[in-house]
Symmetry: none
Subunit: 214 residues, 4 copies
DNA sequence: TATGAATGAGCATTCATTCAT
DNA sequence: GATGAATGAATGCTCATTCAT
């Protein structure tokens, strides 16, 4: 009965899924610069089919990375239940690194702050959870106290960069990740240089699109 | 006869230098996506003048990043003289991070493995020095023994990612860098997962342009 | 059996009417450039429903403007009964102007000679009546004798142009219309240049789609 | 010597002229809707050649119609010298009609108020002259006193409409023009309906892009 | 029969690169 | 040797029209 609710949706949905799958794949592999016609070809549909579901390429990108963000958030939420506070925190970082290891578009969007409300909102939600994981791990004395939640996207983006470079099928990025995690431990922490970033500064930072000169 | 050639050469060389300077600036600021006409305009020359010296945009990019690679290598070589082995090593990493902080194209190329022989060669030379710095720092017991030279580009690229994201004028990236350095210290090192990467594997890795799926 | 067909027909007819209503509105408001999907949405039907009744957008346009032509003809026929021959004639012209003032598509089609047999036929019928109105008004000595029926569409189209330009809600076009009517009066008429257009010439003219060069 | 000032311009200018000529022709014939590729083909150049000289299609349209506007203005200025004030005025109207008779894009732009500063400015200049011609002709008692300068573009646009419809090579539009001119004469003028348009109203009118509903 | 998803050609525009001057 | 105009392929996107449901 529920099958007959949307008879049209039957092949429409199947096609949309083909588009999404093709986009997911293409974006993951080649980054957000793949052209819409390229995605259409991979999906075996015409360009206009894509534009029916996603009025703009931007929207398609947003939809795809949103999936990843959500998956990441689900995982991070689950990590809050971890008995060991450090392991909970590490799991989140690991997950973020893994995601970036297989999705180039995700990496790009983490780094370039796609200005789409839904994405922005999801990012905020993710950060709220990260803050909790951090607080827990710091309270337990395992995570160095001078790390703040805002460092995490930078760290993740950092891992993403390294992953992008390497053939991600090799386990190399896991070495790198372990290294970074060691740097985050309270154990042998050396004080970080400069003042801790204020929340206001970081907010402005999140706005900034790009532009480096010195 | 060299007298009649030189004058032209002088002109040409001056022009080439203008192109290189403009490209350096533009690439650092905007990344490798700046258009050739844009660079030509900045340099105050015609596009064809650029194409005389650099048959391809790719070549121009290569030339520019090569400069950075060389500067990096010079610096790394100097670091070999450092009394403190750890400081020598850390100086190299810091330098790499700083370079990426002010040169967006460099970051891109480190991350995307520009497939040009000269660049590749320079990369190898850099790595040879890195190997020495690492060996020294490990011998002195300050650098964790499970790090290999091949990890360095990945780490640098990682830092680059985080730098790209943040407004690089803020000191944020220096926090991240300090974090990573702490992770590299022998002090609180936890064993890295998996087998150490063999040299052969890494060679193949260097070849690979891209392509992640699982 | 007609009983079983009729119900469907009823549905179909109602749907068709919705389409026509939406098209009428959309064309009047926005001109013939509105997209078919847009009309479908206004009508609350699918595009294909439109294409069932009208194999081509052109046909839909033709159907809609045909309505206006018919309304115009009805009005013109009524004007034949006018006691005052001049007023009868003027009423027709006024009506044509008013139609154009509220229907952008009508204006476009009058100006661009939509090449559809039915439209063409209706145009001829209209002209036959115009001819009578003109004859009457000329016989009464009020309409200048050198005007021929074939001038009328041109005049109307002329008014349409001026109307299109002005915010049609302002009464401006009525000034213009009055001006033109004054030009049509026998009173102060100055002879028109050139030979009066022969019927044959005008027939060829009606054929011509476009093409001006000298 | 002046020939060698811009050796490059030699063929560049020739090519630009080809573009302009092709655009002039295409716009005149088909209106502003002709596609850029179409114009390029007519000109025998690539699309990008057009975009070198005209950053936007809008700019190309503006450039072309500006030519016509200027020609019109020159002519109108000359008409100010006419001994007979009425003939001066009539010459302007005739000229405007003739222009529209051979240039569909001009007609469109007169009717649709292309929002480009230069075009707008030229339009204003033209109107200033029209105002003088009108004042002169009214002072001499030949032009009806209730016409204002702002009526002229409407009248011209009106004539344009009628001209567009007819095969412009036939002299038909000249009949229509004569008719309209007769309507403008003081001789047999009947009072115009409604209040004369205030300048403020007309200014707002000029702003309005489109949108007719009642 | 009505739907609306799919199509592919078309549009305005940009860019790396080549060639006449 | 240097110029910058010309090229044509590519990009994101829209629309009239056609099918599978």
């Amino acid at each position: 009965m529920s099958a007959t609710i949307r008879p049209l949706r039957a092949d429409a949905a199947r096609n949309r899924e083909r588009v999404v799958a093709a986009a997911r794949e293409a974006f993951a592999e080649l980054g957000t610069d793949v052209s819409v016609p390229q995605i259409a070809e991979r999906a075996g549909v015409g360009v206009a089919t894509i534009y029916r579901s996603f009025p703009t390429k931007r929207d398609l990108v947003a939809a795809i990375v949103l999936e990843s963000f959500r998956a990441f958030r689900d995982n991070a939420e689950a990590s809050l239940e971890h008995e060991d506070a450090w392991e909970g925190f590490a799991a989140m970082v690991r997950r973020g690194a893994a995601l970036q290891a297989r999705d180039r578009a995700f990496t790009q969007v983490v780094a370039e702050a796609l200005d789409v409300p839904e994405v922005r909102a999801e990012r905020d939600r993710v950060q709220a959870i990260a803050r909790q994981l951090i607080a827990r791990a710091q309270a337990s004395g395992q995570l160095r106290p001078d790390v703040v939640a805002e460092d995490i996207p930078l760290l993740l983006s950092g891992l993403g960069g390294s992953l992008a470079m390497a053939d991600c099928s090799m386990g190399l990025w896991e070495r790198h990740l372990a290294l970074v995690l060691d740097g985050l431990r309270a154990e042998g922490a050396h004080p970080l240089p400069g003042p801790p970033p204020t929340r206001a500064k970081l907010a402005r930072l999140a706005q900034a699109t790009r532009g480096c000169s010195g």
